[in-house]
Subunit: 245 residues, 2 copies
Amino acid sequence: MGPALSLRLEAFTRLSQDDKAAIAELSKVSRVVAPRRDVIREGENPRYIHLMVDGWACRYKTLPDGRRQIVSFFVPGDFCDLNVYILKEMDHSVGAITRLSVADISRDDMDRLTASHPRVTQALWWEELVNVAIQREWTLNIGQRTAYERIAHLLVELFMRLRSVGLTQADSCDFPLTQTDLADATGLTAVHVNRTLQELRRDGLIELEKRRLRIPNLQKLMDVAMFNPNYLHLDHEGRHLDANE
Amino acid sequence: MGPALSLRLEAFTRLSQDDKAAIAELSKVSRVVAPRRDVIREGENPRYIHLMVDGWACRYKTLPDGRRQIVSFFVPGDFCDLNVYILKEMDHSVGAITRLSVADISRDDMDRLTASHPRVTQALWWEELVNVAIQREWTLNIGQRTAYERIAHLLVELFMRLRSVGLTQADSCDFPLTQTDLADATGLTAVHVNRTLQELRRDGLIELEKRRLRIPNLQKLMDVAMFNPNYLHLDHEGRHLDANE
DNA sequence: CGTCTGGTTGATACGACTCAAATTTGGTGG
DNA sequence: CCACCAAATTTGAGTCGTATCAACCAGACG
């Protein structure tokens, strides 16, 4: 689905009709990945840039003894991984959370796109820089926040990212992550995530069931999470420019 | 000092004499930052790209109540932060660990450099992608490893990064970080870092005193840290290509 | 010398983990 | 539409890794 995709990129630069057409051309879904299956695995040689067209996915890394850390989430509209440009070998895996539509783009196609559409290139790099900023925030989150704050922070982040591409309804959104996913992403155990979610519910900060998340009072949840949205850079100039004008 | 700088960039692409000259031109130190002082602070509007010419520095983020997380280290030879290209406002601070030589490069100068030296641009972006990879590894490190493994991992990473730019001597290197720095970087308390370092010493894995680190058996330390060097991408093709040939 | 920063030690507390089992939910096929 | 199974969630009891708090020590420095 182009919509979320374009919305996401246009958070950075306004794209021309031509830019959008070129993206749409490459965004043709080339395969569907079933929930919980991998898009690509650590150690593999990446031959394509994977563009997540629809669905949720995550990047994760594992230790030899099986411990697993989700290091980031792709939500619908998030674009792709440019790693193929440096990596001989993936240093992490990408796994589908939900049913996932992926467009595999060859390096050549991507080179052609960026060569003829500089604004797209710019938007891609901006997206990459925001991804690093998010990764830094996760380091802070896991390193310093308590379980309660940490989960609150992650929920706010995901909600705001979804909202920025129009995937929320008032104070709620689809939320396909299991408690085990949350545990792997926060460096906690699933049991402790469970108990902490109950606390958050008890405190009236969230409602979470049947893969739906509702945040009755976003500001209150942001406060307990000490959430500062600056790292998402949602206020970029792209929001105010338009290449078509 | 150009040497480490060029070495670092050349880990990615071989640079021509002309490329190197252009970098050297911009690398003229424009100021010296005293140890423990900030290069730039969260919330500020970045007007320059900061090129760390010599010395150690770190990026860090803080929470309103004072908790502090170092999210990455700059070691000598590490280049700079391209954040200025997206950020209206810094989402983190950069602080000097040692006396630090910094070249402040204006966006215009940087644009000129990259416009006329595509290989430099490429090298810069590669460096940025490696930085994300390191940031992901830190997420894994803090999220999943025990204090003992975690500190071991950080020490190995720093040693290997220093080695890749020729700043190690056999099995040792300068090591200006305090135990408090290590604590802020690993999400542990200084007290616990102290005890864990003692364990590592007792186990013969490290010697650390007077700002010198010695790793008698790197492989052994890598084993306890479950260190997989793939994320540093030190084996990039740049090592085998030369723009002058 | 006093002062300061960084390092070390001891005693105690608590947040998060482990292990184990029960319960609920969701999907699948008969 | 129900029976069944697997996955996800929940609960309980006990443990442990790491934090906290509070001194104390050593070297660097003015």
